[in-house]
Amino acid sequence: MSGRLVLALALGATVLAPLVAPTYHVLLMLPFMAYAVALLGLNLLFGYTGLVSFGHALFLGVGAYTGAFLTSVFKLRSMEVILVAAAALGALVAAPVGALCVRYVKIYFGMLTLAFGMVFYTFVLKFYRLTGGDEGMPFLRPTLLGASIEGLPKTDYLAGPYYYYSLAVLVLATLVMWRIVHSPFGLCLKTIRDNPTKAETLGIGVARYRWCAFVISAVYAAVGGALLGPPTGNVDPTLAYWTQSGNIVFMTLLGGFASFFGPVLGAFVFIYLQDWVMSVVPFWRLIFGAILAAIVIAAPGGLAGLWVRRPSVEASSS
């Protein structure tokens, strides 16, 4: 009950933010919403299936580069087309990668995803002619729902239409993910996480379910990556580097992987905390490292875990 209230309040605040909050903080909500979409997907794998990917920056990269290619090479500006294409390409890449990765669990799964992530990173960095190498590619301003909004200054575009567009995508993604995790499919994933042998004896095709979860999470990450592009206006390989994969796992853990909304909270706190710490001290990595260490050691359930104590935290970390 109180959870619903908090959710409604959070949504209400997000809807009103562009009208009341300072522009800069409104703009910071954009990467938050993009990451939140990606993290919902990551957590289907992490929290619900028990597989931690250290290469999901790969799919952020796929989504972002899809948008960059479509807008600056193919002159296709429609954000809907970009999102669909990003999702499709994310699935296309994830299908074979996932098929290879889900044969393993735990550390081997993590390492294999990391290796694939680095292959992609090296590819975009090396194929200078195609991808612009380290300089990346411009992600031109997309049209939203067919409306060309060229006249508006970029800041107003981002703090206005694009903000609500991202929010709509996030809400939609959340609803779909909510359906997924509460469907029989989602329940099967949880069974696999807690006891793969039991799942197998129950007749659940463990590998196939893991693969599905992998592909869905990749689609989410690609959509998140595509949303991340327009605020920066440029897409570059650092988006796909392994430390970026580490960061998104960090966000998930910070918010709490055992809770549905934990990762969303994690993305929010991470972005605003980083913004604040960076403007106060130059050595923000030290502080972030310490925070991460403290969470891992003292509060593995993350912020959501501190708030509502859920027994499932223990179940998935055993």
């Binding site: 250290f54 390492m111 294999l112 290796a115 680095m118 292959v119 796992v249 853990l253 490292g289 260490a293």
Partner: protein
């Protein structure tokens, strides 16, 4: 070819540190690259102090190695203060904790030594050069290769011929049983982690006369060390040895044959190994 072997021997030291820790504690220590960087910076400072104090240049390798090994002692507080809390957690949490150490060490190094690259000036060529297989090689490179080989042999001996090695292998196979036999796991963990750290810091210290210390050298190296242990097999010392040689030599061949491929080739091999033989070339049976 030989240049690849030199790079491979440094990679071996760092990967060996990674393997020792993984073998016993089952922790994939991302921070081994940071320890490598730490060793490099401490090495520069130690040699600088030594030369400043008027020590004979010919013996600079002594303070370098001593400093490299000694700073491995940071392994003790890291293990006692952080890692020991997560032994019974999921591997993911352990991995993330070492990622946190990577973040912290990067800034700690920057706060201590600043951002400029640090290097020992001319000591690299103190021991002169020799011609090997038609190319000129600094003797120092050969010393490092030799030292690395000696350490490999020493570790092999330690693991197979001593009680300590027996305990390590036993606890790698079955932690509970070893503990039940009366082994003090607490001390073992601290010792093993410190040993792993010292191998990394020694690697960093030994490489420094040939290069310069830069704050991001750790992040760069961890990716290569990762490739080494995957190719060789997690937890295997022989694997680290062969993997380091493979990565070092392949990289050097790729550079002279088709430079574009350099790192991509390494990752592709990593993936191939993971897919075809996930335990690596020398990996043990499934844990």
């Amino acid at each position: 070819m030989l240049s690849g072997v030199f790079h491979g021997s440094i990679l071996f030291l760092v990967s060996a540190g990674l393997q020792v820790v993984f073998g016993v504690q089952k922790i994939f220590n991302l921070a081994c690259g940071s320890f490598y960087a730490l060793g490099a910076y401490v090495g520069v400072s130690a040699v600088g102090w030594y030369v400043g104090a008027g020590g004979p240049p010919a013996l600079f390798i002594a303070p370098l190695a001593v400093a490299g090994l000694a700073v491995g002692a940071v392994g003790v507080p890291v293990e006692r203060g952080l890692l020991r809390f997560v032994y019974d957690r999921d591997e993911t949490f352990q991995l993330l904790l070492t990622f946190a150490i990577v973040l912290m060490m990067e800034d700690a190094i920057r706060m201590t030594w600043g951002t400029s690259p640090r290097s020992t000036s001319g000591l690299y060529l103190t021991y002169g050069r020799v011609g090997v297989l038609g190319t000129t090689v600094p003797v120092y490179n050969l010393i490092v290769i030799g030292a690395s080989l000696a350490i490999a042999v020493l570790i092999g001996w330690l693991l197979t011929r001593t009680t300590f090695g027996w305990i390590i292998r036993a606890s790698a196979d079955n932690r509970e049983m070893t503990e039940a036999l009366g082994v003090d796991m607490r001390r073992l963990h601290t010792t093993v982690f410190t040993l792993g750290t010292a191998l990394g810091t020694l690697g960093g210290a030994l490489v420094i006369p040939a290069t310069a210390a830069m704050s991001e050298m750790g992040i760069e190296l961890i990716v290569e060390a990762f490739a080494v242990v995957v190719i060789g097999g997690l937890g295997s010392m022989r694997g680290a040895f062969v993997g380091a040689l493979v990565v070092g030599v392949l990289r050097s061949i790729a550079i002279s044959v088709y430079p574009e491929l350099e790192m991509l080739l390494i990752y592709l091999i990593v993936i191939a190994v993971l897919v075809l033989r996930p335990r690596g070339l020398f990996g043990g049976p499934p844990a």
